[in-house]
Every structure is written in C-alpha cells, then in structure tokens.
Point group: C2
Chain length 303, copies 2
C-alpha cells in the first residue's frame, strides 16, 4: 500500500515542507492543506504548499489515506477533534510532534477508533510559519516512527516508505524511548539555549549591545536555537515533562562537577572532559548529521 | 606610528591566521613566527604562516616592533619568559587570549619593564593547529584592546590600527570589564556546551549512536562548540574563574526558574521567556555577527 491522498493540517515550517516535498518527490500523490489561521492559508495557497488549500480541517481530510498533523504538540487533540467525523475508513493519522507519548494519548482520545501512528522527523530550522518550508528539509535527516502496540505492519511500512520518499532515513522505536532520546538531543539543548540567552540579556553590568557585538565567541550559536518558535517549544516542555526533568537533573549534576573543578582549579578534570567531547563531533560529521566545514560553513568565511 | 616587524609566538588557529592576514592586508610588514612544537614550525613553514619561521622565541622577537603571543592563556608567562631579554626598546607586546586580567599580570611579571597592551580578537572556529588558520578570520569580528592605565595613546592607537587593517572592528575597555563580558558571551556558553555533550555521551538508557543520529534536533550545534581546543579552554576557565563562576551562578538561577515552570506546568512563563529571546537573534544578524540564513546556511540545505 502507498498513500495517494495526503492531508496536511498545520502549514508552518514542517507542514509546508511536507507539502513541497510531496510535490517534488511523490508527484503521483495529491495533497490537501488546512491551517486554523486564514492568513497562513492565504500564504500557503500563494506558495503552493498543497495542491488544494481547504477552509476547514474536515474538508481537508475528506478522502485522505494519510492525515499528518503539523501543529504544536499541545494543540494536537483540539486540531484532531475538528475533523473527527470526516476520516474515511482505513485512513492513517500521523503527526510530526517532538513528544510522542502525549501526542498518541491526545490523538486516540480525540479520534476514537481511528488508526494513529505517530512520527517525528528530526529536522527543522529556527524559522517558522508558511514562508519557512522547503522541499529538501528532510534530506539525510532521521524520521522516527513510533508504532503503537498492535499496529498493522503494512500501515507502518507505508508510513516509513512515505518519509523515505521525502528523503529521510527512517527508524522505529517506542514512544517512551523516543521521548527520552529527544529530551537529551533536542529538548534540554533548547532549554539551555533559551536560558543562557535570557541570562545574558538581563545582566546589569554587561549591556545588551556588548552581548550582541561579542557574540561570535560562542554565544551566537545559542541564539539561533533560542530563536525557535515559542509556542511549539512551550508545548514540548509541558508535554515531555518527565523525560526533560530527568535529563535536566543529569545535566545539572555534570555542570556542578565542572563548576567545582573550576573553583578548586582542577585543570586535569577540565582537560579530560573537554578532550572527550571532541570525539562526538567527529562521529556526527561522519554520520552526515552536520557540516564538516569550520563554523558550519557560515558565509562570513568566504567574505 | 605603525608596526613594520611583527613577531607571532604560537602558530595555531589564531597565530597562523594573523600571519596570513598580515601577508594579505599589510604587505609592507614583515612577520617572524615561532612555535614550541617543531612539527608545528615545519607545517607553518610549508603553509607560509610567517615570512620567517624561527627556531627560538628569542630569535623570532629580535628586532620586532610588535610581538603577539598566541598561546593558551595559562602558558603566556612561560612563553614570554623565553624571549624576555631579546625585546628591542619600544617594542609593544600583545596577545590574543580570552582572559585579560590574568594575561596582563603574567606578561608584566615575565617581562619587567616591557610595554604590554593586551588584546583579544573575538573570532575563531572549532578547529585548531597550524592547518586551521585563514586570512579572513578577523573580518567583521570585534577585537577588544585592553590598555592598562598609563598606556601610551600612540601605541594603543597603533595596535588598534593593526587589528583594523586585518579586517576587525576594534573596541577598547578595561581588562576587568572584558573578562566579565567574555564570561557571558563565550566562556559560560562553552562550559555549558561541553557539559551537555558529556552528559549525552554518558547515558545508560540512550546509546551514543542514538545521540549522534538524532543530533539535528539541536544537539549538533553544541557539539561544534564542544570540539574546541581542550588546552585553550582549560586555561580560560582557570584564568577567568571569578567572572565565570559569577555568570554560571546567574545561569543556574535562571535555569532553575524555567525548570520549576516546567514542573508546575506554567506555560505562560515558558512562552514569555521563549518569545523574548528571539529579539536578540535578530539584533545579532542586523549587527553582522551571524549568518541570516536558516541553520547558519549549512550546506545540507542545498543538497
């Protein structure tokens, strides 16, 4: 089986990129799109983010084989409730949210009897909204599918094949494990970045202008992450609370140990820690998950 | 006055870039270079990082108008002691270290009677060593000069003009203020990045392979910073201890507040914080301190 009619609910960075990617890499499939914001629907129509932009979620999902919810994870249940009666039998409902246990619970509650197979493409940029998407966003990125117990293997395979067609590499795991993995590779890094950027802008003895001017010493990398969509990230932290708090506790323990090494002047402990973390960077580049050029190949190197 | 003979002591990323930049933008000036590591001297000669590569620091500084120490901040005193007797009268001794109070103290102790005017170009990449440098490293970056009390204005101006000629924008401030500003814009961000990368690689319930595969969710940005030179960074933390610990305390307070907001489910507090930090990113891009393209314009967007 493969999906011929794909409905995209939520037309921001991820939803828009899915629409553009289907048009480019699955030209046989037809897409419909819906967004709760009329201004986003208008812009989505102008950019051609889906073949048809609909005025209601129910209209968008009518006749679809696959519905993908691309809204902040805290809005999944309400967004699904809008089209609950309109799904055709056999339709697969999926999503792209960054927490999977909470989304599965919300969708099965809002759509009793529907087939729900959550997924999470680990891809994005700091930009959001209907102008942010592009067809190659998922290239070389991983998409994690979290099939619930008892899911139909043919439907799971079809969803995996869909993401592979958009250029992603696909893995499956439990929703619980996903939430733990993403807490450390994505959620806690975002929280830390948001924190330090806030700390820096609230100081009395260092001006905001100084923070901005001297940001090339490391700070600017954090500001990119801390420019991500606030609504999306608020919802991620509220919906993956347990795993985030667990990982944050680990981080705080490790930071306290390094802080102590600085305080007592234990240079060996600092050096050993700093030498060890270089290896991870090499592996990420070898695995194709980042640019090998210095500074990510930022354009100022060419100037 | 301007500098006609420039000696570079330490031929890694920064020292090598200074040599290449002088050759490109100050063709009238002559450079000599020295590094304590014979293998680095050999590679420096092959790449032409200075006009002459010398076999001792004393030989390199002989006749120089300007000596720039480009070694880790913990090694400044020892590196300077090697050439203490060889400076010509009127020579300005400067450096590129990331902490300025400790460097000034070390250099004035090692070089009694010499003219020491510290400086810090806020530029770099995660790479280090004699192959890492390039002539345009300082373009559009700030160089902070920290003249001690009573410094000769003509010499300070000449040092500022030297850095401006290499493409940098130049500011002057006290060494104490520099150390506070850099603690927040560079040192604490590096410590946090080193910490989270270490935390992620020590987990039992998430494998290192998973951390690497799913790093595009935010983590990969931290690994770039945590791949910086371990010796340099050990020295920075030991030599700017007071300011780093002060800023770390502020960071921890702010992180604790966000952690509490997650625990009690205070979505409004999270949203307000996350929305506020976006503005800083915009200012950094407007000021020309980072690439405006999504994801720093990483090359995978073109693929």
């Amino acid at each position: 089986m493969s999906f011929q009619r794909v409905a995209i609910v939520g037309l921001g960075l991820i939803g828009g990129s899915i629409g553009l990617a289907v048009a480019e890499y699955l030209p046989g499939a037809v897409t419909t799109g819906y967004d709760a914001d009329p201004a986003v629907r208008k812009r989505a129509a102008e950019r051609g983010l889906a073949n048809t932009i609909c005025d209601s979620a129910a209209e968008a999902v009518t006749g679809a084989d696959l519905v993908i919810l691309c809204v902040p994870v805290g809005m999944m249940g309400a967004a699904a409730a809008e089209f609950a009666g309109a799904l055709k039998p056999g339709c697969v409902v999926s999503d792209v949210g960054s927490s999977k246990q909470s989304v599965f619970a919300a969708l099965t509650k809002a759509l009793p009897g529907a087939t729900v197979i959550p997924a999470h493409p680990v891809a994005g940029t700091e930009h959001s909204g209907p102008d942010a998407g592009f067809a190659s966003l998922f290239h070389h990125r991983w998409c994690i599918v979290t099939p619930p117990e008892g899911a139909d293997p043919a439907q799971v395979d079809a969803l995996c094949a869909f993401w592979a067609a958009l250029g992603a590499r696909v893995d499956t795991m439990s929703a619980k494990h996903h939430d733990l993995v993403l807490a450390v590779t994505s959620h806690v890094p975002h929280l830390i970045a948001y924190t330090i950027v806030g700390t820096a802008s609230d100081l009395e003895d260092v001006t905001r202008s100084e923070v901005i001017k001297y940001s090339a010493g490391g700070f600017r990398d954090f500001t990119r992450i801390a420019a991500s969509d606030p609504t999306m990230w608020r919802d991620v932290f509220l919906n993956n609370k347990e795993a985030v708090l667990t990982m944050l506790q680990r981080f705080t323990e490790d930071l306290t140990a390094l802080q102590r090494a600085i305080r007592v002047g234990d240079g060996d402990a600092l050096f050993d820690h700093f030498a060890r973390t270089r290896a991870i960077r090499r592996s990420i580049i070898e695995e194709g998950q980042d640019d090998a050029r210095p500074d990510f190949g930022r354009s100022d190197h060419e100037s």
